[in-house]
Structures are given as structure tokens and as C-alpha cells.
Amino acid sequence: MDTTTAAVASDARSDAPASTPDVETLIATARRLRRDILEMTTHAGSGHPSSSMSAIDVIVALYSGGILRHNPQEPHDPDRDRFILSKGHASPALYAILAERGYFGHDLLRTLRQTGSPLEGHPNMRRLPGVEASTGSLGQGLSIGLGHALAGRIDGRSFHTYVMVGDGEVQEGQIWEALMSGAHLRADNLTLIVDHNQAQQSNILERVLDYRPLAEKLRAFHWHVEEIDGHDMPAILAALESVRQVKGQPQAIVAHTVKGKGVSFVEADWTYHGRAITKDDLQKALAELRD
């Protein structure tokens, strides 16, 4: 998928903001937010930077690529599109984009995981505007997203709900309950995004519980499925856009990603899961993410 196709896809949206940034700008934004993720987690001394970096390109495309209809000034607007980060441990990615979009000041990122800060280890919707669901217990976000989608249907609202899960998270039974029910209820205003980084906590997915191939299973569950490189910005934009046109069934985007994407020594080592980069390594990591 090249840039031209993505641009066409974005143009198809009548209500997309007039000034949707170009792909180069989005790539630069994602790089900057990767730096935010590393800085805030190293400053906090804990957190999940690698899980956040695999997800950040998709998240930037959603929030800054003109996909998500949202207004940071009105975080509870009933017509807003929803993004639910079900893999709540990747909260630094969510906090970075919410700050980027003006839900709160960038300075707040430095308070991550500190007592009194609304930027908790896992997202808390009661404390931070823009957070759509309190997650952290893996497996729960898709059902919540389905609830939003059904509410939208009852009220005749045209918002769309995106839910991002981890590929390890997909092992939770509740995910498959929600997959069955989303398809049965024909929730075509619901999109599942799987951050398929091939790794989980205690090991790589292949060694823990290898359920691959995922896309075939999702299709068998009657979801419309697109498979993309989750770091290819034009491909991400095109997929996020095109799924909204699908009628009669929910959609899944299987985003093939790399855990720790952007920092070579994190990419190469799955044991970085749930670990902040040391202060000593931070400069080395940031050097790989220079503009």
C-alpha cells in the first residue's frame, strides 16, 4: 500500500479534519511519541515501553491521521468515536497520544505512575479524560467496545468503536466470547485491532500458547479481516479507514508488529516486557529515535 492509496482513502471521509497531516508528519509524530514513551517509563522506573512501542504507529494513525472523530475539549461527546486500549499495560502509548492531542498538558507525562497522578500504571477512565475504559485485566476491552457499539446502534448514532488487544491477550476466553457475540449481533460499528507482536510476558507467543494463524480464526468467526504491517503508516491508515465501510459484520485488523519497535536492543529481546529501560540505556535508545 503506498501513500497515494492512503490519501485517497482519507479523502473518502467527508468529516475528516481538513488538515489531516501527511504520512511523513505522522511518522515523525510516532517517532516523537516513542521518545515520550521511553522517557516517561524510564523516569517512572517501571512500565511497559516495549508493548507501547509496538502499538504506537496504529495509535498515532487513529488519533492524528484523521480517523478518530474526537474533540479533546469534549471528551464525553456522545457522538465521538471510541478507542479502547484493552491491553492497558501499554498505557504510556495512550497517554502520549492523549497529551499530543491536547487532552492534557505534556508535562503530566512526567508524573506517570506517581501517587496522585491520573496517569496510573493502567488506564483509569475515572481519573483521566480521553480514557474510554479502565483496563489492565487482559481480555475485557472487546466486550466493553461491543457495549458501546450496541449503545450507538440503539441511539442511531454513527460513531465507530476501535478496540486494541495484545496477541497474548487473545488467549483470554472472554475475547472469543466477544468475537462470537460481535459477529452474531452484526456490530459493524466495531473494529478489533490486534497488536500481533508475537510476544507476551513470560515468553514469545509461539512458546507460550501458539494459536496462530489468527486471521483465519477471525474469519471463521465471521469477522471481516485485514492483515497489515502495523508499522507501515499508509497501510495502517488505509485499513483503519476501509473497515469503516464494511457493513453487516464487525472487522478486525491484524497488525503485524515488532515489540519494542524503534529501539534495536529492545526489539531483539522479548524479556524487555514490563521493564523500563535503565537511565544509562535511555540515551542510547533515544539516539535511535532521532528525527
Binding site: M125, A133, Q140, H148
Partner: protein, 326 residues
Amino acid sequence: MAATAERFELKLGKATRDAFGEALRELAKTNDRLVVVDGDVSNSTRTEWFAADHPQRFFNVGIAESNMVGVAAGLAAAGKIPVVASFACFLLCNAYDQLRISVAFPQLNVKAVGSHAGISIGEDGPSQMAIEDIALACALPGFAVLAPADEVATRVAVRAMLEHDGPVYLRVGRPKAPVVYGSEADFPFQIGQAVRLRQGNDVTIVANGLMVAAALQAHDRLAETGVSARVLDMPSVKPLDEAALDEAARETGAIVVAEEHLAHGGLGSVVATAVAGLRPCPIAFVNLGDTFAESGPGDELLEKYGLTAADIVRGANRAVAAKRQG
């Protein structure tokens, strides 16, 4: 269930699950925010009556309680008032983490209704009997926990539940329940309030659910032996009416708590904790203890597992004796 009527010496009314289903149907007429999420048991929980009127606001997600609760959380977050109903044991035990993190943590306005609570469901046996639901629901921060006694009480409780802003657990039962309240005027209930059914000075019987009827019967039997028992219906386990308990401890100095639930974490535990902190006095407990029940007619099980008026009378006498010993 004629034997039940005989045992309680009270007229049998509707099952509390029926009263719930009817109240829901009635209240849905004027409340278009109400939605129902079901896990393939709407004909047991009686949400089928709501579904018949409002198919577009009713979602049967199949035998998948975790997803059921999660969907309710999403509906609540989007401004609906979802009632999520299943057998109490499946709702609380199968979807506990979802009640905890998807609902309680963000304090979403979800109404969790567990039917078939207690051992009085009878023949279906222990796998279908919720005997720990009150303990589990009480351990969900911010949840109100309600266990009404009969048809009228349930109708009032359903209304209170829907008016309440925040998560609620409502426990209802399968068998026909003895009539405790003649009309709504007899049941001046708000969440957090006990209802005093009988005045008395020697001992206070605190009960909820099906055990309220047994408490009334125990009151009469105790009176025959010269013991004056106060009877408090405690439909609201959380928040608890501490003022009524404080008054009971002060004025009667002895308490017996009766519930169709395990010993640990139910009404007895909650009352004992409160009384210990307010005005310690002897307390006796009438409950299932630390065991599962078994299959059998509900009446026989209540008898066999110690949940009758006679058990309450014995408990009351124990508490009174302990008080006299000082």
C-alpha cells in the same frame, strides 16, 4: 411449595425473580435508558418479559457471562442503564473479574441481578445455587448489595436500584416467597435502610431474603416463651443501616442474624463487623455454615441445612443466654 407456606405460616406470594421481571417490564415503559444483557437464561431470570416488549434493547450474548458483564459495562459507559441478569452463581462467580475491573473500578451504572440465589432452588443442586454471592458482591468496592424478602419488597428494590446512580447487585430467588409485606406502604425502603417489622426488647433478629419470613415466625414462637424479639429486615447489605443496628444492640443487647448464604462474608459477617465497631453484644448466626448443600426439594434443604424458624429461635436463645451471662 405448599410445605413452605405451612412452615412459614404465611401466604405464599410470587417468587422474587418473578417480581423482578414484572417490575423491570413495568419500569421500562417509562425509562428508555434501560437495556438488558442476558446470558441465555432470560426465561429463568424473567428478563424475557422485558425482551418481549423491547427486543431492540435486549441482548442475549449467549452462555458467556464474562462478555455479558463487559457488554453491560460498555452500554453503561455510553449512557445506558444496563441490567445484566443471570443465575447469581454464574454472574458472580463466572464474571467476577469483569464485575471488578470493567464495572466496579470505573463505578459504572450497571445493575447486576442474580436469580436462583440460595439453596431454596432445590433439585438442581449445588452447581446452580449461589451461596457466596453476597460475600462476593460486598467485596466489589462501591457496589450496593440488595436482597429483598418478597414480591412487594422486590418491586420497591428494583425501583430503588434503577434510581440509584452506580453499580448495584440485586439477589432474587426461584421459589415462591411468603408474603411479608401487604403493600408498598408497609415497606418504606431506601438503599441503606433496614425495615423494622416487629418491635421487641430481648433480642433482635436480623434477616434478609427468604429468611425474613422465617424470622417473623420465630418472633411469634419466641413470644410464646416470653422472649420479646425485634425483627429487622435488612434488604440492603451494603450500604448497611448501622443506625438500626446500633439501636438494636443498645435496646436489645443480643442479635441473631439469619441468611440463606455461607457463614463467611454474608449478612452475618457484615452485621458482626458493624456491631463490633458500634456497640459489641452477643451475636448468633443462622446460615449455611461452610458447606455446599445438595439436590432435593427446597423446603427439605432449608430444614436439613438449618435455615428455619426453629433454627432462628435456637440462635435467639443462644444470644439471649450469652447476654445474661454478661
